[in-house]
Subunit: 414 residues, 2 copies
């Protein structure tokens, strides 16, 4: 959290990962981000992982530092209020971020009738408007068929990423696009609609990383290589105490460090002439990867993780242990309040736990305390009063008519 | 490509994925991005995949639309020129993006002496300054130990993502941060240094997605589930013709569509009472996933991919086929010039192939032709003349002294 974008107001109609992450990135940069949900919550309101109460740790994680407004978006009066909030005055306001099909009156053209300089960022699945989510986009990307060890694969055993990487990338493209569009508005007065297709983010990245060119120019694509790096040296090794470490040599410096730290310099150097490859190049180390690994593996297997860590400390070897989520959370000091990225927060309905802020340190914008996610509808009344100037009786009437709702029970459960 | 940021100038000292992607995102938004490399190229200049000539398709992919300057950065005179380029006047200039250890005279403090409103974005590995790359950060994230099928895992068989997802996310955090810092400078006149640690990006995302809370609050973390979704229904299925499809039911609408399209509505509905779960909830479908899959699998196995595509067309089923890179490139119409994302470009030293532009459509900034990557040193002379006002003889002297270099042979090989 910092205050860099404190003069921006963004209204979000969203669910799942990408759009909420884009909005949360703005919120953690100080923008006022108002997520408007239907009464009872959006389709992501109960996604796993959940707390014992049933409240979603996932939802809380992706909506930190936002304000929450709950309106009956299935009724015209609810949508009118949402439109009024989205188009409310303010030089840094009039920005909508959404990944949901536009509701009547809440599409870009309708919002623009109320505020001519409207900016809308709209995430869709495929460019043609058909549905796509991280899982289907990933299936089409080619990556699952080259993930995991080669021996177990016959072109029919895809392995999906667990990290929703396409959603994450798309969320951050949206935050970049929002600032680019707002910059343009500041200079010209003109708003605009920005459309991002999740599938296009995948396609762009497959192209940027060279896989499209490899197929088109070389008529091939990289095979599954397990945890080996493609075109360089890197692999995972087992330790004496049942752990695994990733060891990498991208640069000549890292390569020499590996030889020195393991005492294998001479044995490794002898591989070059024997195999007829130049081990000072990445391609040479890739070609010799099995022979290199055959020397490094017994060295690792004879040592515990702690012994390896000692041997590699300060050596210049590029390496790291594999660990599971529990070890990361309970034993890695980077995942603790010793890291300014993290703060202990009290998340209403869920409990007290470590929450990350923004993974960026701005020297001109000090880090502020990480704020929890709102309860659903926590800011409904405040926003109706502040932005639309509604009186307490008017807001009360909206509650009575089932048009607006405040926070549900703190447990967050249905 | 568009012209949204045409008044910005960014100087990049970079290698590999994250920083080059952040800079390229700015370049594809119209900014002038000057990548300054050492003579002969940076440590990523020959990374795989490569063309037959040895030129890197990977490097070309991550440096499209930039200008390239090659200077002897190991010599004071080369670094002085780099500093002069980085700090050259211009309201939208004075921005440096780097993931390399700062060279003498090119750290933030030194640049600030020449230009007080300097913005520097600096990517490091770990916050404490120690080295980390996508592979080591990923190993620490917990994800590799829950990737792939459960049966083959005993806590010792991590499976890495092939997509460098942490690098991609970090590159896009950098583009977001750059625009936030530049916005601040426009308003206040103040530059700043922004530091991002690759490990912090991973930690933030593990937290945002709920895995930190799951461990801290529930004392557990999700197990490996193969390609099953966590907390909802989604799995891959084999087709009669040896392909695989991903089928997902996140929402009640998608769930009902799956029943209708497969003719399995009644059989699926009967699972609820039999198993004692509510299949209208994501958690219920997750609990019943094996029973659901047992009905869907034979339906898929009896049909070819084409038959499944026909059955699902317009049905509302959320699904997609797995495909390898070659099928994506050669047979998926989204990966062709039928998609405005792509253009055929002539990449000097490599050849003619499909290159993606920006996966964002701005209604107020028409899409411009995708520009290829430069040859190493292609713009050295232009930049020295335009930004530093050097005369042709002065530039000639720099070449003669080995301080500056123009493009290498078009093949791009050493």
């Amino acid at each position: 959290m910092n205050d860099l974008l404190a003069d921006l107001r963004i209204v979000e109609f969203s669910a799942f990962v990408a759009a909420p992450l884009g909005g949360m990135t703005m919120a953690q940069l100080g923008a006022e981000v108002i997520r408007i949900d239907p009464l009872g919550g959006g389709i992501d309101h109960y996604r796993w992982p959940v707390a014992e109460s049933g409240a979603s740790i996932y939802w809380a994680g992706l909506n930190k530092a936002k304000r929450s407004v709950a309106l009956a978006l299935d009724r015209p009066e609810g949508r009118e209020l949402a439109k009024a909030i989205a188009t409310a005055p303010g030089a840094g306001a009039g920005i909508v971020l959404t990944n949901l099909p536009p509701l009547p009156g809440l599409d870009y053209a309708s919002l623009k009738t109320a505020r001519d300089d409207m900016i809308m960022l709209r995430l869709i699945g495929n460019r043609d408007g058909s549905a796509a989510v991280d899982y289907t986009v990933n299936a089409a990307s080619g990556f699952p068929l080259v993930t995991g060890p080669q021996s177990e694969k016959g072109g029919t055993a895809p392995i999906n990423n667990v990290l929703p990487a396409w959603d994450v990338a798309t969320g951050l493209y949206l935050s970049t696009a929002l600032l680019a569009a707002e910059r343009h508005r500041t200079r010209t007065g003109a708003g605009q609609e920005v459309v991002a297709a999740l599938a296009d983010v995948m396609l762009a990245m497959v192209g940027h990383l060279g896989y499209v060119g490899d197929v088109q120019l070389n008529g091939r694509s990289r095979p599954p290589l397990g945890n080996d790096l493609y075109g360089s040296f890197g692999r995972d090794f087992a330790t004496a105490d049942g752990r695994r470490v990733m060891i990498i040599a991208l640069t000549p410096r890292q390569w020499r460090a590996l030889g020195r730290a393991t005492g294998l310099s001479d044995a490794l150097a002898a591989l070059g002439p024997r195999l007829g490859v130049d081990l000072d190049t990445e391609a040479g180390r890739f070609d010799a990867r099995d022979a290199i690994a055959a020397l490094v593996a017994p060295w690792c297997a004879a040592r515990t993780l702690a012994e390896i860590a000692t041997a590699f400390a300060g050596s210049g070897v590029l390496w790291g242990p594999f660990q599971d989520f529990a070890t990361l959370v309970n034993h890695d000091p980077r995942c603790s309040t010793a890291n300014p990225l993290f703060a202990e927060i009290d998340q209403p309905g869920i409990g007290r736990y470590l929450a990350p802020g923004l993974p960026l340190d701005f020297s001109a914008a000090p880090r502020r305390p990480t704020r929890p996610a709102p309860l659903l509808g926590e800011h409904t009344d405040q926003v109706l009063a502040e932005l639309l100037g509604l009186s307490a009786p008017a807001i009360g009437r909206l509650h009575d008519c089932g048009i607006a709702a405040g926070p549900a029970t703190p447990s967050g459960t249905r």
